[in-house]
């Protein structure tokens, strides 16, 4: 270790007042880069859970609003036959 004791380490020949705050700021930036996404993740996970709970409560399927799953069960061949010319009123 270049510095004999703790005091000279902090003082660093008069330059400590520049070096240590710089490293303090560096630490802040590093912590920001780690924790800001993690906090955002926590918020998003909570939202997803809330949506999952809301979706699991069976809501009345509105008539016009056909869900995708039922459309996929209809085989593509059968569905394209009814649709390709469009109904002529």
């Amino acid at each position: 270790m270049y510095f004999e004791n703790f005091a000279s380490l902090v003082n660093m020949g008069g330059h400590g007042v520049y070096v240590w705050p710089t490293y303090g700021l560096g630490l802040l930036v590093i912590l920001y880069n780690i924790f800001s996404p993690l906090m955002a993740r926590k918020k998003i996970v909570a939202q997803i859970k809330r949506q999952a709970r809301a979706a699991s409560v069976p809501k009345a399927p509105s008539s016009r609003d056909r869900t995708i799953k039922s459309k996929q069960q209809v085989s593509t061949a059968e569905s394209s036959r009814t649709m390709n010319e469009g109904e002529v009123e």
């Binding site: 469009g86 002529v88 009123e89």
Partner: protein
């Protein structure tokens, strides 16, 4: 000429329409009906090539639209919600710059006769700023009537048009279709089926549900934008 295969469009977590397939050939008029917000305008913007945010394919003259853009745009007239008329310019100047963008240069008297037909006679040299919104649309309709593009894509052309104008526009559409042109139109009022070649597509038949239904497990929602 224009063919749409398995078109699907999502906007803000809502499937506007999916598995929409239709064909449009010369001498046909296609009316697209649907409630407000059912994606009529979005569909028209996709067909006009303004929006690329869709799945499925669009073919022009049996080739993929994305490879035929110049030819497609040379033969297309798009009439959007906003009439694309500059307030500071006069109707004649407006029609002239719009036509030059479409690589057309109509003669002076043809412009004047078109303006007369939409009874804007006498307003030819008045700055459009002094004209009403309805008159702005009529300037755009006058431009439509003298356009040589075979494919017309019209988004609610009848709004803010009086009864006389509606009748005139229907005759223009009928004449265009009879001469082998094509029209895709969205409108709330049902068109009087003059030439018998009006086909209707109800957008609600292809509406998809909201997107919160999960995709099945293997196929996550795809790697592509």
């Amino acid at each position: 000429m224009l063919e749409v295969v398995q078109l699907r469009c999502e906007r803000d977590d809502r499937v506007l329409f999916s598995e929409l397939s239709m064909k449009l050939s010369l001498g046909e008029l296609l009316q697209i009906e649907g409630a407000n917000g059912s994606g009529k305008t979005t569909l028209l913007r996709i067909l006009a090539g303004l929006s690329g945010d869709f799945q499925g394919n669009i073919f022009w003259k049996e080739k993929k639209l994305s490879s035929m853009y110049a030819d497609f745009r040379l033969s297309t007239f798009y009439f959007g919600h906003k009439p694309a008329v500059k307030a500071e310019l006069t109707p004649v100047e407006n029609i002239r710059w719009r036509a030059s963008l479409r690589n057309e240069s109509p003669s002076e008297d043809r412009i004047f006769s078109a303006l007369e037909q939409v009874n804007l006679a006498g307003f030819e040299e008045v700055a459009c700023g002094h004209l009403s919104a309805g008159q702005h649309r009529r300037v755009a309709l006058a431009d439509l009537s003298i356009s040589v593009s075979p494919l017309w894509i019209l988004d609610e052309p009848f709004t803010a048009i009086d009864v006389h104008g509606v009748a005139w526009l229907e005759t223009v559409l009928a004449k265009h279709v009879k001469e082998g042109g094509m029209v895709i139109i969205t409108s709330h009022q049902s068109l009087s089926d003059i030439s018998g070649t009006v086909r209707k597509v109800k957008l609600d038949d292809f509406a998809g549900g909201f997107l919160e239904d999960e995709f099945d497990d293997e196929m996550d929602s795809g790697a592509f934008l």
